[in-house]
């Protein structure tokens, strides 16, 4: 008996101490930090509805999508810290592959690199406008929601033009283009023209709720990366239907209550002036007495400081302040009304969050009208949305006048 248990012990020690089955040394991993999704050619990319009907497409081994994975070159990151790095190579490596599904593309990437792609740290996914317009947005993102390696906090952006190009930009501040993009997109607390970060988790919620939604857009503006404006997706087939300009995005942010900071430029007494918005809140109020003609009031309350004036204005005069307040409020109302008209008339997509509000606060009525909200009767487009803004100027800066 003693002998037997000795052997069992030895077996167990050998078995349990042999180490971790899934062990991969962290320096041997190919950390993927960003994915750019593009269509290969115009002709080959058809609308999502037609895919299953044409079986001949399945035989095409070239594929219709092009994905670029950006990997971190850890060694380049370290050496460039000191100035003696002789081969000043890029700290990133872009690997591109094509295929019909994301999974095959991902596996194909593994053929091109010595380090197996490790997807747990993807920061940013950028999809080209073309794919989004053809309705591939939800399809191509599926893997990023389904796979256990993925996180829900990956940022999603839509690019005007080719997404791949964005991964090749060089910035002096960051060594990795993706990290650069990632940091830019986080600046929404300073600028209301950017849509707040949208993550894969948010996208998942959007797609499941069958509501229209907006995703921030990114583009190359003369070799500079810019995150500005938004891409609008409709609820019906989750295709991208159009863009919002930066002003419209700002209006959208006010309506959605997403403004964390921004600037409103006004003209007072023939002088330009910038008012910094510190905080903005919004409240919806709905009048549902006639369910075919919904009336919604958007009450926006903003607080801000005078940030900059061009000419000496008497800012200690209460009348002046209330004048500024009224002017800023008028501006905000204008911004909001513009985006409302655009979403109601051009896109017929309720990205304003009014549907969600009705769902949450007027559930009974919502149940009756939700089918006709954005489709069918288009109640959303017919509804009467009114914006009322209220602004409070709290501070005027530290000096009263800078020139006289």
């Amino acid at each position: 008996m003693y002998k037997c248990s000795k052997w069992i012990t030895i077996f167990c020690i050998g078995f349990l101490l042999s180490g971790c089955w899934d062990q991969v040394e962290s320096e041997e991993r190919g950390y993927v930090i960003g994915v750019a999704l593009d269509a290969i050619e115009n002709q080959r990319l058809e609308d999502i509805e037609q895919v299953k009907e044409d079986s001949s497409l399945q035989n095409q081994n070239e594929g219709r999508f092009k994905a670029t994975y950006q990997l971190v070159v850890t060694s380049a990151l370290q050496s460039s810290g000191s100035s003696d790095g002789q081969g000043s190579g890029d700290a990133f490596l872009n690997l591109t592959s094509t295929g019909n599904t994301m999974f095959t593309i991902t596996r194909d990437i593994a053929k091109q690199t010595s380090r197996a792609p490790y997807l747990e740290h993807i920061k940013v996914i950028i999809m080209s406008e073309e794919l989004a317009r053809k309705g591939y947005f939800s399809k191509l993102l599926d893997i990023f929601l389904r796979d256990h390696e993925m996180r829900r906090a990956t940022k999603v952006l839509i690019s005007k033009g080719e997404a791949l190009e964005l991964f090749q930009t060089k910035s002096k501040i960051e060594k990795l283009p993706v990290i650069y993009i990632d940091s830019i997109s986080e600046n929404t607390f300073k600028n209301a023209e950017m849509l707040p970060i949208t993550t894969t988790g948010d996208v998942h919620a959007f797609l499941l709720s069958k509501k229209s939604f907006a995703i921030p857009t990114i583009f190359l503006d003369d070799q500079n990366v810019k995150v500005e404006g938004a891409a609008v997706f409709n609820s019906e087939n989750q295709k991208m239907v159009g863009y919002l300009t930066k002003e419209e995005t700002e209006g959208l942010n006010y309506i959605r209550g997403d403004v964390k900071g921004g600037v409103i430029e006004i003209v007072i007494d023939g002088q330009r002036m910038a008012v910094e918005i510190k905080e903005a809140k919004r409240k919806f109020h709905a009048d549902l007495s006639n369910s075919d003609h919904v009336k919604v009031t958007v009450n926006i309350e903003a607080e801000g400081n005078v940030g900059e004036t061009f000419e000496g204005l008497d800012l200690l005069n209460p009348k002046m302040i209330s004048k500024i307040e009224k002017e800023v409020a008028k501006n905000i109302e204008k911004l909001a009304e513009d985006v409302i008209t655009k979403t109601q008339e051009d896109y017929q997509a309720d990205i304003l969050g009014i549907g969600s509000y009705l769902h949450q606060d007027h559930y009974q009525t919502w149940n009756k009208i939700k089918k006709d909200w954005e489709q069918g009767e288009h109640i959303f487009s017919k509804s009467n949305i009114e914006v009322k803004a209220k602004v409070k100027v709290r501070n005027i800066g530290v000096n009263i006048e800078s020139n006289k």
């Binding site: 349990l16 899934d22 740290h121 919620a205 949450q360």
Partner: protein, 368 residues
């Protein structure tokens, strides 16, 4: 005063509290929010958790009352005293079968979820085997060891859940909880069924009764013990809905685990908070599985007094392993879980109530 206070085979009321709580908290929490939302389709699921909790509290009370009538007796002795030796033997044997299934299910759950989130390449079979070996190690000694381990494990587990909630406060959105009071009673009732399942586990008190040194307060401690999972389930549910919303929750396989994945604290390490969460979560699954295995041994030992504990372990371990490995995919694991849950209802609610009723009518009592 004894030289070594713990050198006895007895547990106090504190241990009862912890054993009930730890037995109940298990694999179910990871899927609970989804199984509720599948039925209620709104935040109203919290009502179902409360209903499930009240049912569980009532039957825990029944079980505790039954055990308090028969101090220091195990299930075999209780049922033999109330009915007769043969029926008692059969019931105990069935109970043992149930607990074998319970261990297998818990093991398979550990294996599948740790494979999904932690070990990509390690086969489920190997994870299962390693877990089983650890459980065997845990139970090869006295039962009392497992019961005392609970005291150490439960606070750690509750602490990590607390940390998980704190970390997710930033993602919590109150508006996700709206609209409420929109589900009808039928939906709430079916969801309550799901929650009752996740409160199972208190029936194991029927065996551990034999170790309780002062049985007078058993019902109080057991009820307190079952309140811990009740509060835990409610908090987890509120947070999962608050963070993900109803639609996402109903579409996520393990919503509670996703909550751990959601956590993102700058600094690298906590980007993989889920690995920490799972490591600690395995502790509670370990104590649940170990207690269930221990109950199997106690049950079989009560019927067959001549067989040694170690021999039972050697015979049962391969059987448990084979049962755990038999479901081929996630759907079969789920239906396996369903079968166990229904059996659990029989052993935790039906049989104790019947026994208690008969005992009350015939006035059977254990000698005090």
């Amino acid at each position: 005063m004894k030289p070594f206070e713990y050198n006895d085979q007895e547990i106090g009321q504190k241990e009862v509290l912890f054993l009930v709580a730890n037995m109940v908290i298990g694999f179910g929490v990871l899927t609970l929010p989804r199984s509720i939302v599948e039925h209620t389709k709104s935040f109203d699921g919290w009502i179902s958790i409360c209903i499930g909790g009240i049912i569980a509290l009532f039957f825990t009370w029944v079980v505790a009352k039954l055990t308090m009538r028969f101090p220091k007796k195990n299930f075999y002795e209780i049922s033999s005293a109330i009915l007769n030796k043969y029926i008692g033997g059969i019931l105990t044997f069935l109970f043992a079968t149930y607990s074998i299934l319970f261990v297998s299910y818990e093991m398979r759950g550990v294996a599948s979820i740790s494979q999904l989130y932690l070990f990509d390449k390690t086969p489920v079979e190997v994870i299962c085997l390693v877990f089983l070996l650890v459980v065997i190690y845990g139970i090869s000694g006295e039962s009392i060891v497992i019961l005392r381990i609970n005291l150490m494990f439960l606070p750690i587990v509750l602490f990590i859940v607390f940390v998980l909630m704190i970390m997710n406060l930033g993602y919590f959105e109150l508006k996700n909880l709206k609209p409420f009071f929109i589900s009808n009673w039928k939906e709430i009732a079916t969801a309550s069924k799901e929650t009752v399942f996740s409160f199972l586990g208190f029936e194991f008190l029927l065996f551990y009764n034999a170790f309780i040194n002062k049985p007078k307060n058993t019902s109080k401690s057991a009820l307190m013990g079952i309140s811990i999972p009740l509060v835990l389930y409610l908090t987890v549910f509120i947070f999962v809905i608050g963070v993900f919303g109803v639609d996402v929750t109903s579409n996520t396989l393990y919503p509670t685990a996703e909550l751990a994945k959601q956590v993102e604290v700058p600094g690298g390490f906590f980007e993989r908070f889920e690995s920490l969460f799972f490591t600690i979560w395995v502790m509670t699954l370990f104590s649940t599985a170990a207690m269930a295995f221990d109950i199997t041994l106690l049950a079989l030992g009560a019927i067959m007094k001549k067989v040694k504990r170690m021999h039972f372990i050697f015979i049962l371990s391969p059987i448990i392993y084979l049962i755990a490995m038999s479901p081929q995919n996630i759907l079969e694991v789920a239906s396996f879980g369903k079968v166990i849950s229904y059996t659990g209802i029989v052993f935790s609610m039906v049989i104790p109530s019947v026994l208690l009723t008969i005992a009350l009518i015939r006035g059977v009592k254990g000698d005090v």
